[in-house]
Amino acid sequence: MKISEIRDLLGAAVLCGDEMDRDILSACGSDMMSDVLAYVKNQAVLLTGLVNPQVIRTAVMMDMICIIFVRSKQPSAQMIEFAEENGLTVLTTPLRMYEACGKLYAAGLKGNGEVNE
């Protein structure tokens, strides 16, 4: 699933990153960073309601390519700058975690255990 499709499905605003054509192969939704760090998959997106620099660092450590903040959470300018330096796309959606994950899953984006071909 392309980042542009995710953006449209979630009615999300793009905070940084311009590679809307990049393909996302798996997704993970959590507010606990060590849960996220437990399951590495390539070209993954992270959905979270947590807003602090550790979210961006976690995504960088895992080579993720996109972060989506739910419930219209706004990361600081510093966080966005750090994400941008590391080639991450950052989105923010008004949807809640459950709804955001549900929409992506229903549209065919699989989770950690069952990566898209």
Binding site: D31, M32, M33, S34, D35, L37, A38, V40, T48, L50, N52, P53, Q54, V55, R57, T58, V60, M61, M62, D63
Partner: protein, 140 residues
């Protein structure tokens, strides 16, 4: 055998916002050295978990990363409270993190198990009231 490349970092225990910066630096260094991405990811995640643990459980410490010919070695030393029961601490889901740490996204009790999972070898030496040293190795 040539001398290993060595990098040392001091990890500030009073500043949660900066926790993880040493791991970010190490990731950059390993990329510059041209290590393969999977190895870099494993080293980064293991060190990041350990670095966060030093900040939230031990009031900071020191991190040392050695790049040997056949492995990357990560040594994390702190003078924190120590771990009384290492076997228990290694269990998935075991955490003593208070609510304020949980609200920052940590305290799932997954850090130590993750460190073990992503490395080829991990040794914990800990003494209550003295501190903890964790040595991890990722083979190249």
């Amino acid at each position: 055998m040539s001398e290993p490349l060595k990098f040392t970092y001091s990890v500030d225990g009073d500043n949660f916002t900066s926790a993880g910066q040493a791991s970010v630096q190490v990731k950059k260094v390993l990329r510059r050295l041209g290590l393969d991405p999977e190895t870099i990811r494993r080293v980064s995640i293991a060190m990041y978990e350990g670095e966060i643990n030093m900040v939230i459980h031990a009031g900071g410490g020191e991190a040392e990363v050695l790049i040997h010919e056949d492995c990357v070695e990560i040594i994390l030393r702190d003078k924190g409270p120590g771990i009384a029961d290492i076997e228990q601490a290694m269990q998935e889901g075991f955490s003593t993190a208070p609510d304020n740490i949980r609200s920052l996204g940590f305290g799932a009790g997954m850090g130590l198990p993750n460190m073990k999972r992503y490395t080829d070898d991990m040794q914990i030496e800990s003494q209550v009231g003295v501190g903890t040293t964790i040595t991890m190795r990722v083979n190249l």
